[in-house]
Symmetry: C2
Subunit: 207 residues, 2 copies
Amino acid sequence: MGEPVLREPRQERSRVTRQRLLEAAVSCLAELGWAGSTVGLVAHRAGVSRGAAQHHFPTREELFGAAVEYMAEIRSAEIRARLAQPPSAVSRTELVVDAMVQMYAGPLFRAALQLWAAASSDAALKERVVPLEVRVGRVAHRTAVELLEVDESKPGAREAVQATLDLARGLGLANLLTDDGKRRARVVREWARMLDRELAEAGTRPG
Amino acid sequence: MGEPVLREPRQERSRVTRQRLLEAAVSCLAELGWAGSTVGLVAHRAGVSRGAAQHHFPTREELFGAAVEYMAEIRSAEIRARLAQPPSAVSRTELVVDAMVQMYAGPLFRAALQLWAAASSDAALKERVVPLEVRVGRVAHRTAVELLEVDESKPGAREAVQATLDLARGLGLANLLTDDGKRRARVVREWARMLDRELAEAGTRPG
């Protein structure tokens, strides 16, 4: 059963506080937008003091940037875990495309969109968000390449994966104000079919 | 040379004022976001009085909604005109995909994104923006179907066109904070190649 783990109570408490702040920050940003999302409100929702929040994240920009990045890592890990034992009825490509697209249909995407929109008219925020966008984009790209089992050295393969993520972002945007689930499912099915054939024919799949 | 046109000076002045307000509204929204975009500022930029602006658009929501819709119509008309005599060196599909994608890479998309982002956390604004999104989406879809010369009754054809527009939106988002032009060109070329084959094989093209 392994060795018993000795926890540092203070360190563990700090980790939990940090995580609750990050989760509250994403849901706050997704619901209220940048203008309505203050550190005080996030601290209140997370059930911690404002001082504790500022201890973890000295600025508002750091809190919300870290929140979007953290949630992107969590969602990617969830998708990998879920697809480790995929059901066999649907094509692997469709499962992966659908999983990537779902990532952009929920609160994480809403939160990121609010941050991106605010950054586009705020130079100081933009300076922080641009490198964050690069890191989050890399996580999504790596996840897609790994799950689609693509050999990126084959011509067109890298662009086909990127197109899948650009499509996912576009579908996320179409889901922002209304539930676009039905239409999205049809678009995902068609794209998965096109992508599957492309990857098979280009010899970008191992074996 | 046709009959001389008798202009109603007042009516013509009113049309010009309206147009200047709509253009100023789009650039204002694209640059400053929803929070920074007031009717007063737009009137100032358009060189008209605040009263004149309010005569044309009684509320802020009406002004910015009308601006995004107007610019979408203008851009669609421009694309149709530009592709009426296309150069022959590039495939028709790539030209059309590129033109649609360009529509989402400029100030119109930035403005629309700011409006959508604000609407997602503002119920009153959302009520106005949802029908606007439907109308603007229809204009883009009709333009793409017409230019790609697609028969939408063929299986998958409608979804392939929709996917192209979702991709365009996603690429627009990727271009919000940084110039994504180089990567975008590669993704567009790959997408056009896949779409071209798909449309040809599905028999969705006339003749």
